[in-house]
Symmetry: C2
Subunit: 329 residues, 2 copies
């Protein structure tokens, strides 16, 4: 911890979908208070979203992840916490970031996870890469915390025939994995930051994995709920277990490169397989993998209920995701 009473935290990717939630959570946190620096590429430091943060007292520091490690380490000197909300295509750049954190004596590094509970290897290509980063962190003996939050509320709802909630949905059609009866853990993207701000200031979570999810639901429950609340009948596109298995096999046979069209076409089968068929994204399996549960650590901390999220969506007050925001500017 720095000499000041505030914890010094640096956030990479502060304007992305995950990062902006984390920034809001850090800004809102009073216990602990955070002194926040947003790390951005030199070309991006004057972007409006960052200047907006600056008005709220956030410092902006230019970093070059591909530049010399000692320059990066000098920028990161004396930070208690460094959080990475880097985009999926840049995950491996966190090797340089972790090395610089180690050289700078950073108290805790939080690599970009913030997603579903998945076996460490062989099920989801994005997790495989994240696991490579985690293994690198462990190799260099860097203090860390892993935070996963489950599937995001904001990518669960099907379209309504009226089109009235399209504004809040991601730009692709929703499907039901298999029978749609496998429970999966869910969190509002807006709550990622609230959970994260609590977790990274907690000594109990140092060198631990934490699963911060809000609710456990099945896709059928979600579809039933939105039908009931909206009074509309939604289309139920089931993707069969066989089709999912076929897609997974195709993904395994393909050397998927994150960010390519092939990746987006095939990775979705891996997701359906892990949370829809296998049922990995559940608290019991997280505990088996060694995760602490935020619900156990912070019984007072209640994420937004799924029902409330649905009502906000129907009322036109919800936050849509993936609306052309880049992950790391």
């Amino acid at each position: 911890m720095s000499s000041a009473s505030k914890l010094r935290v640096a956030l990479l990717g502060a304007t992305g979908e995950t990062g902006s939630s984390i920034m809001r959570g850090l800004l809102a946190s009073t216990q602990p208070h955070y002194e926040i620096t947003a790390l951005a590429r030199a070309a991006s430091v004057n972007k409006p979203a960052l200047l907006e943060y600056k008005k709220q007292g956030v410092q902006i520091a230019a970093v070059d992840l591909d530049g010399p490690e000692d320059a990066l380490a000098a920028t990161l000197k004396d930070f208690d916490v460094v959080i990475s909300a880097i985009g999926p295509a840049e995950l491996m750049q966190q090797v340089q970031l972790a090395n610089a954190c180690k050289a700078a004596g950073v108290g805790r590094f939080v690599p970009c996870c913030f997603a579903t509970i998945v076996p460490p290897k062989g099920i989801l290509v994005l997790r495989d890469i994240k696991e490579d980063i985690i293994n690198h962190i462990k190799k260099i003996y860097l203090p860390y915390t892993i935070i996963d939050v489950g599937w995001w509320y904001n990518t669960t709802l099907p379209r309504l025939p009226s089109g009235k909630i399209d504004y809040a949905l991601p730009p692709y059609e929703q499907s039901i994995a298999g029978e749609g009866t496998t429970p999966y853990a869910l969190t509002d993207v807006g709550d990622i930051g609230i959970y994260t701000a609590r977790i990274v200031g907690d000594p109990r979570t140092l060198n631990k994995y934490v699963f911060a999810y809000t609710e456990l639901k099945t896709q059928l429950e979600i579809y039933d709920l939105i039908e009931k609340l909206s009074g509309e009948k939604v289309v139920r596109n089931h993707v069969s277990r066989e089709d999912i298995a076929g897609g997974v096999a195709k993904a395994e046979a393909t050397k998927l490169v994150v960010g390519t069209p092939e990746f987006y076409q095939l990775a979705i089968f891996q997701y359906w397989n892990t949370w829809g068929v296998r049922g990995d994204n559940q608290p019991e399996y997280a505990k088996y993998l060694g995760y602490l549960l935020a619900k156990d650590l912070y019984p007072d901390l209640q994420g937004k209920p799924y029902l409330q999220y649905c009502q906000e969506v129907l009322d036109g007050r919800a936050h849509g995701v993936y609306k052309g925001i880049t992950f790391f500017e």
Copy 2:
């Protein structure tokens, strides 16, 4: 747990260096009592060492790890614990073993680790393979326990000029990694079974990593001790940090196949690097990696002190390792 009051445990590799220690530990255990089955290849079930176990009440079951999974699963049905002390060259066969354990509903699988604390990936080729097995276990959601014990007492001492302790030493020359001042955790191979019998019967260690070591020493301390106890002056072959780095680089550039002469020549540099230079094989780093310490779990359980081991070696009463014993018959 089975309906009987004893825990049913199966041990693969029961006549190997690690496995025979585990067998002795299981046989000696009274809390819990174990009903023990040794798993052996069909061609080996009548080997003298196994028949010796049989006299002590151990059941012998023939298994074929490369045979049909359902036959293997049928053999493993209703076991509370399955322990693998398979040889290093056969580590990947544990994929089939783990799958059969899952199909058989085994209560806890203990894959072959029983060695030093090492980062999960990229430092030691043998650990890389063990980690692949651990990842597979997690992928199939099989209850497990990882047990590591540090470096073995039995491979620490240098030769004495008199030759009087040669009988207790492994068949290669001892060297000092770097300056010899890095502490590393040590355990007598004879104690592996005592620790293991305690750990695998303990509900607190289910789905956990446990580090069961006895003492922390440096190589210089060891050399000083044996000189003092024996009254002889030993040769101190230091391998420089530079030579170790060179050997590690060569090992990384070579696709090491476990069991080949090249493997034995180069893997030793990886070991010197991890426990002699990096200092990975220590309890603090183990805790960082998520291990529980046997010393914390069982404060009453004292392994054999290193001093006592040295005295036994000098008295001609010690157990030598790697005397032509195969790992899995």
